[in-house]
């Protein structure tokens, strides 16, 4: 029967994430953005909470939480509301852990999943996006060509989170023609010849997140670096998980901007009355709420399809499409609600707008 009530477990996880967002992320977000650096110890502290890779089974020393995209979406919304840079950074290990959990060989699971349940923040990340205007996961420009028993990788990846410190990159590359079926994932060590890691990229937003450009020039890797070995991955499903995850982060950013606007509009007065009493502002804020609620249901529904074992390609794609538009509009309106003050960096709304603008281009930056 149709039901939108989260389970007790979900409520508990959401609460944990919400507290992290409220106590550690949001208060530090401005300084982190200005300094273009995560707060010292943030990764360590957040890692200890175990939110990032909670579905790794006990067998690998994991928390064995049920693997649920719906639960993931709920948690990521909270983290997105805390701070986008910090959220993506702390979640980066799951970009590697979950595909390995779902498709990896026993050996890969043994190595990667154990690394993702240790006490240290794992120096693992994934590289999917490419620096072109028409980036398309079904037609990656990065290729992996068979050469004997090995693969040779060529291509350029961008927006690789935590890239400066990563030891190992999960690189998505095309092994044949176009389509999801022709994409496989390979582990590439930082030290392998042909790998170049750029300086930290400078972006419009998510400044505190360390992202790099990864260049692969005739990088040879052994067949056992391919996730899942000969069987490989179901990249279509991985993309659905990723799109749900990113959409959930965007919900968080938008929700934060919405909540800020509500509070501000009730305090700020013009001609002696709170601006919230003016329809131009009140209707704008009502619309924020309407679109936010609508988008959340699309994200949850896509996640629910994944939890039912379906590919959810269409659902996650449409959800992300709607969310990307929504988060831009809501964050833009949140700047408008503050007027000139919204333009000043001391106030968070312009940061949310800069972060919010990114979602339409982001792909593969998070995973549930």
């Amino acid at each position: 029967m149709f039901d939108l009530e989260p389970s007790e477990d979900q409520k508990l996880m959401v609460q944990t994430a919400r507290e992290l967002a409220k106590n550690e992320m949001d208060p530090a977000a401005h300084d982190a953005d200005e300094a273009a650096k995560l707060p010292a110890d943030f990764l360590k502290k957040s890692w200890e909470l175990g939110l990032a890779c909670a579905a790794i089974p006990e067998k690998y020393n994991g928390a064995s939480m049920e693997r649920s995209a719906v639960t993931g979406a709920m948690i990521l919304e909270e983290l997105g509301a805390g701070d986008l840079s910090m959220a993506i950074a702390m979640l980066a290990p799951s970009l590697v852990a979950y595909p390995v959990l779902d498709y990896g060989t026993d050996l890969q699971k043994e190595i990667v999943l154990r690394a993702c349940t240790g006490s240290e923040f794992p120096k693992l990340t994934a590289a999917l996006m490419e620096p072109v205007y028409d980036f398309d996961p079904t037609a990656l420009r990065t290729t992996a060509i068979r050469s004997g028993t090995n693969y040779v990788l060529n291509g350029v990846k961008t927006l690789v989170p935590n890239g400066s410190t990563a030891d190992s990159f999960l690189v998505y590359a095309r092994v044949g023609g176009t389509g999801f079926d022709n994409v496989q994932a390979f582990f590439v060590q930082r030290t392998v010849p042909g790998v170049t890691v750029s300086e930290k990229e400078k972006n419009m937003g998510i400044n505190a997140l360390d992202t790099v450009t990864l260049t692969l020039e005739n990088v040879g890797v052994a067949p056992d670096t391919r996730v899942g070995g000969a069987k490989g991955i179901d990249f279509e499903r991985i993309m659905s998980y990723s799109r749900v995850a990113q959409s959930a982060l965007a919900l968080g950013v938008a929700r934060k901007a919405y909540e800020h606007s509500v509070t501000y509009a009730m305090e700020r007065k013009t001609w002696g009355q709170p601006i919230a009493t003016r329809q131009a502002i009140a209707f704008m804020i009502a619309d924020m709420r309407i679109e936010l609620d609508a988008a959340r249901l699309l994200v949850w529904e896509a996640a629910w399809h994944l939890d039912k074992g379906r590919k959810a390609t269409k659902e996650s794609y449409l959800a992300k499409m709607v969310v990307d538009e929504m988060v831009l509009k809501v964050t833009d309106d949140s700047v408008m609600v503050m007027g000139g003050h919204g333009f000043i960096r001391e106030n968070p709304v312009e940061r949310w707008l800069r972060n919010g603008r990114g979602f339409a281009t982001f792909d593969g930056l998070a995973m549930v």
């Binding site: 039901d3 205007y133 996961p137 999801f180 509500v262 009140a282 609508a294 499409m321 709607v322 339409a360």
Partner: protein, 413 residues
């Protein structure tokens, strides 16, 4: 537990209603639009009435869920009702509004009526010939500001005497002239008391002093009769007052609020009817374009999509988002949660976005979309009413904003 799937029994009912929509609505949809009031969709009306009688009027009157003994008790009436209505409006929204059922009038009796009133006015929908009920609030000089009712009701002995003019009464003629139905009339018992003096009255069919003065000619939903009802010394029994007769001192609007609360139950059904029209247009458009070789490439890089693909996808997404919001609001009623905010959210979004969807449909079919050969132009005309009645888009935003800020209607007007 989060679940986006309905139970088997609802799915079976939904499939049955969809079949009715296909067999008894779609074949007549163009004709009832062109002929406006001249053609009664009788085959549909009679079939539907039998179905409604059989199912005990599953969708007759959405009711608020109740918290019994502090325990939330899950009901299914509201979700069932929106699922039915969405399917019927997908068939034809005008015909849906001409469906013999208690509709909004019934919802009012369902949520505010005494057991005797329910027996007297609702039981009749389970027997005999097709019947309709209507709700008359709007007046020539008053619409969104429903507190400004000028129609009066004066107690004379054992009777209320009603005087005034009501316009835009959906199913007004069918309810009071063509069948043994009834109309709920909003009237003031004390003009000085303002909103607190406004009460709802149950006026039975063919009551002397009430007459149908006119049927409107409309942009869309043409086969639905939209009537002007004139009341001249129309006498009804004293016990036909809905709710309490108390007029609280001016400023206190509890009684009025009670009447307004009906809208929390009826806005999701109106949203559902909007979604049905939007879905019809979205489905038709994608099927039509598929025949021309347009296949939306879900999943590929977004900057590779054509403008048409993007529009098709947005149509689909907006239909779904509106529908999920509608289900959410209905679900909240079913579990007994207050849903004033969510009811207005779903009505606002569905009303507005389904207009966009239908207008897009006309655009995407090119000149063919503008032709009356296809139904998309009709759906576009039908869709606009969802943005207007049961509180316009703007009025829904007012409700949403007031809820968000905790403002009264005086603080945010």
């Amino acid at each position: 537990m989060i679940n986006f799937q309905h139970g088997d029994s609802l799915n079976n009912l939904a499939a049955a209603v969809e079949q009715i929509a296909r067999d008894h609505m779609r074949p007549f949809t163009r004709a009832v639009d062109e002929k406006e009031h001249e053609l009664n969709p009788d085959s549909y009306i009679n079939t539907m009435y039998e179905v409604l009688k059989m199912t005990g009027g599953a969708m007759n009157s959405p009711v608020m869920g109740a918290k019994e003994g502090g325990e939330k008790k899950r009901r299914t009436g509201n979700i069932t009702s929106v699922v039915f209505i969405e399917k019927m409006a997908w068939g034809d929204c005008g015909m849906y509004l001409a469906t013999p059922m208690p509709l909004l009038g019934g919802a009012a009796v369902g949520s505010a009526g005494t057991p005797e009133q329910k027996q007297k006015f609702l039981a009749r929908f389970r027997e005999g010939k097709p019947k309709w009920a209507a709700m008359a609030i709007t007046e020539p000089g008053m619409g969104s500001d429903s507190g400004a009712v000028t129609t009066t009701a004066t107690l004379e002995g054992d009777e209320w005497v009603i005087n005034g003019e009501k316009i835009f009464v959906t199913a007004g003629k069918r309810a009071v002239e063509d069948s043994e139905g009834f109309v709920v009339v909003w009237a003031s018992v004390d003009r000085k008391a303002g909103r607190a003096g406004i009460k709802a009255f149950l006026v039975d069919h063919h009551t002397p002093g009430m007459k149908v003065a006119k049927l409107e000619h409309k942009h869309g939903i043409r086969c639905s009769d939209t009537a002007v009802l004139v009341f001249e010394n129309c006498r009804i029994p004293k016990e036909n007052l809905l709710g309490s007769a108390d007029v609280k001192p001016t400023g206190d609007s509890k009684g009025f609020k009670g009447a307004m609360a009906t809208f929390d139950a009826t806005r999701p059904p109106v949203a559902a009817s909007a979604v049905g029209v939007g879905r019809a247009a979205a489905e038709y458009t994608s099927e039509y374009l598929a025949k021309q070789g347009v296949a939306p490439r879900y999943g590929i890089g977004r900057n590779k999509l054509t403008a048409v693909e993007k529009d098709l996808m947005m149509m689909e997404a907006k239909v779904k988002a509106s529908w999920l919001l509608t289900l959410k609001a209905a679900w909240m009623s079913d579990i007994g949660e207050p849903n004033n905010l969510e009811a207005s959210i779903c009505k606002c979004k569905s009303g507005r976005d389904m207009v966009w969807v239908c207008q897009k449909a006309v655009e995407l079919l090119g000149s063919e979309g503008y032709s009356r050969k296809h139904l998309v132009e009709k759906w576009m005309r039908d869709s606009k009413i969802g943005d207007i009645y049961e509180g316009t888009q703007q009025i829904q935003k007012l409700v949403v904003a007031r809820r968000i800020f905790g403002y009264s209607r005086e603080q945010l007007a």
